[in-house]
């Protein structure tokens, strides 16, 4: 080893080995393993952000926004960092949480003590306030308090509050549709989230030469309802007043265009504000007009009479002897109020809403025929309106109409319906004998602003034009425009009251009608559920009908026809 040349060689060998090792590593890193390394680096600076799709708006028939999605922020705090606020400041008199609270309180609209409480603690993450507007978030972030941050969230707002709330439904905190149109049209409204992948520089800027991939979000489509917001508001106001006045447990009001099937208003009381559905009782979150089934009572007489007229077994002038009570095959049928024997025409039977008279009319038909007419009027099957939670009601087969049921079905007892079915069925008379399936959705708004309809509503001819015209006259005759509380100033009103007892002992009062009686377009029904005592439809529901119809005719620009109300012979 002492030999210098040996040492020299040894040294050279060592150097060579070292160089070889280094070159090997270099080749490995740069050549063989390069892509893996590069990918690791790219992965470190590549971020993928989801681009949330904006949920579509829900608008009324005129394009007024009833539900829209907005940008909100959830403000959060890392309580352990707040103490550093102004810690390095030489001029600040107060620092840390106290100073932060003083700055932040006015921004959040809280008192200083509240704010201080919220900022104090050991939590690494706690929400300060959720769903704040962007302006509040900007102001809060601009204070530069350490540990305060904000996450963007999409919030759903319903600017008109409870107006149409029952139809709109609502979404959960995470944006899941939970009720109403939000739920039934979730596919159209939701849209599809997109994502963007890019390489990010230290300050969050996009590295221009880096790889970028963007799948754009597809925003949800706007859904256009058939409702008119102003009319809906008025209907809700009217029904709320009536429910309040008569101590009903609930009420529904429906305005329905008999020619197109469009539902212009579907009002409920009590209802809820979809901005905070949690505040309402669960039973108020739906639509009684389609979910609550009841025996229609006297409004059901219309179908018996229409069937008999259509079948040609009676005319409006047909004559009947009407005692207060009468036995039909041992079944005692009586009128709602005691009265001396009357001699009424068919028109008079409807005007006086006589059960005894209606049974006599119904006996000109077989139960099977009457049953088929009830089904033809759309009773016993869902209306097909685009809302969840509809109850079809029950119309038993005619073979089950035994004993008393055979007679009570003629005056609207012994089968059950929902309010919208009834309005649509009465709409048959307002639309020339053709029943149009009710609809709440005009269509889906396309990118170019046009509205794509979701199919034509189904139309069914139930009775002939002549029968429909006769029914209009009979219903016109039934409402005395001088004295009835259903009267609408300047218009001839046609309609029918109804009151029926519900098995639980309460009563349902209703009024369904239309104006102008000789050229109707819009049918309005007012229903009050859960009345403690017998209150007739003419007393409880007719005033609401009058008020709502007055507003509807103005709202829809329907002028009086100037044709006076028809007076038929009611007695003989």
């Amino acid at each position: 080893m002492g030999d210098p040349s040996t040492r020299h060689r040894l040294l050279i060998s060592l150097v060579l080995v070292a160089v070889l090792a280094l070159s090997g590593r270099l080749v490995w890193v740069q050549g063989l393993d390069a892509s893996a390394r590069a990918e690791e680096a790219i992965a470190q600076r590549t971020v993928t952000r989801s681009i949330p799709a904006l949920r579509g708006d829900i608008t009324d028939r005129n394009g007024t926004v009833l539900a829209s999605s907005v940008q909100r922020y959830d403000l959060w705090v890392n309580q352990t960092q707040v103490d550093d606020y102004l810690a390095n400041s030489k001029t600040a008199e107060v620092t840390g949480v106290e100073a932060a609270a003083q700055e932040l309180a006015p921004v959040l609209g809280w008192s200083v003590s509240e704010t201080e409480e919220a900022l104090t603690g050991e939590a690494g993450f706690a929400y300060l306030r959720k769903n704040v507007e962007p302006a509040v978030r900007d102001a809060a972030i601009a204070l530069g308090i350490p540990g305060i941050g904000a996450d963007p969230v999409a919030d759903r707002i319903y600017p008109a509050g409870s107006v149409a709330g029952n139809v709109l439904g609502f979404v959960g905190a995470d944006g899941t549709a939970l009720a109403g149109t939000e739920l039934s049209f979730d596919d159209e409204l939701a849209g599809a989230d997109g994502k963007t992948t890019y390489e990010r520089g230290a300050q969050g800027q996009i590295i221009p030469t880096g790889k970028q991939e963007t799948t754009p979000a597809v925003d949800g489509s706007d859904v256009v309802l058939t409702l008119d917001r102003d009319l809906q508001w008025k209907a809700q106001q009217v029904i709320a007043s009536s429910v309040e006045q008569w101590g009903a447990t609930g009420g529904s009001a429906v305005a329905y265009n008999a020619r197109t099937g469009e539902v212009l208003a579907l009002a409920e009381s009590p209802t809820y504000d979809p901005n905070s559905p949690g505040d309402a009782d669960a039973e108020d979150l739906g639509n009684r007009a389609i979910s609550s089934v009841f025996e229609p009572g006297s409004t059901g007489k219309l179908f018996t009479i229409a069937a008999a007229i259509e079948e040609g077994t009676v005319t409006p002038e047909s004559q009947y002897d009407i005692p207060y009570e009468k036995y039909f095959e041992g079944e005692r049928i009586k009128d709602s109020h005691s009265h001396p024997d009357q001699r009424l025409t068919l028109a008079g039977v409807l005007k006086n809403s006589s059960n005894v008279g209606t049974v006599q009319i119904s006996e000109t038909l077989t139960p099977e025929v009457r049953h088929d007419y009830l089904l033809a009027f759309g009773l016993g099957e869902k209306t097909g309106v685009e809302l969840p939670g509809e109850s079809a009601g029950i119309v038993h087969p005619a073979s089950d109409w035994t004993g008393r049921t055979r007679y009570t079905t003629s005056f609207g007892q012994g089968y059950s319906v929902n309010a919208l079915q009834m309005v649509s069925a009465v709409g048959t008379f307002a639309n020339d004998g053709v029943r149009v399936q009710p609809s709440l959705i005009s269509g889906v708004k396309e990118a170019d602003g046009s509205v794509r309809p979701l199919g034509e509503p189904e139309s069914t001819r139930v009775v002939s034009s002549e029968t429909a015209a006769t029914m209009q006259a009979l219903m016109d005759n039934a409402v005395d425009d001088e004295t009835s509380s259903a009267a609408v100033s300047g218009y001839a009103v046609a309609g029918k009251t109804g009151t029926a007892q519900v098995p639980d002992g309460t009563y349902t009062a209703s009024f369904i009608g239309f104006a102008p009686a000789d050229d109707p377009e819009i049918v309005i029904g007012v229903f009050l559920f859960g009345l403690d005592t017998f209150i007739s439809g003419s007393k409880a529901a007719a005033p609401a009908f009058s008020e709502l119809t007055t507003f509807t005719l103005q709202n829809q620009g329907i002028a009086p026809t100037g044709v006076p109300a028809r007076q038929l012979e009611n007695e003989w």
């Binding site: 007024t64 926004v65 829209s68 907005v70 107060v94 003083q102 700055e103 309180a105 006015p106 609209g109 809280w110 008192s111 200083v112 003590s113 507007e133 962007p134 900007d138 707002i157 319903y158 600017p159 008109a160 509050g161 409870s162 107006v163 520089g201 969050g204 800027q205 996009i206 221009p208 030469t209 102003d230 508001w233 008025k234 809700q236 106001q237 009217v238 709320a240 007043s241 009536s242 309040e244 006045q245 009381s269 504000d273 901005n275 905070s276 505040d279 509380s485 100033s489 300047g490 007393k539 007719a542 005033p543 009058s546 008020e547 007055t550 507003f551 005719l553 103005q554 002028a559 009086p560």
Partner: protein
Amino acid sequence: MASTSAVHAPAIRPARGARTAQTSRPRLTVVSTPKTGGSSMPFALLCTLIVTATLAALLFMNIQMSDASYEITRLQGQSQRLTEESQGLQETNERLGTPQELERQAREIGMVPVSDPAYIDLDTGQIIGETAPAEQTEGTPELADVPAEVAVPPAQIYDEPTEYHGMGNEGA
């Protein structure tokens, strides 16, 4: 690039042994002037220039791209702010346009609902219906007088207290 360089034309010396071979006179041909050696400078300069220009362009483009990237980030921020501002205004518009708010404001300035409207038939000029000056009527008498804001209250997003009640410095 304009550059000149002296042309070194080597003087052609007469062949010394020319006379010795007088008999066989060599065939003489005119030879072209040999290529001048020249300087390699221009080419080097050209290359340098190209490289420099390329590098400069690359640098410039990179700077531009980063600039653009920062600008994009800034504009995105601005766009976000403007979107939020527009959204805020839209929300205000929607709030002021709700039926509840319009009703309240209409009542505040003394308007009442029309109970007996009249219409003008534009074809005939005829007035349909009879109307009277608005009185302070209270709706249909049979209907309970439930205040509008109770029957259909404004949206709950609007009536929550957003205004701060103090100066933010109490207890300081």
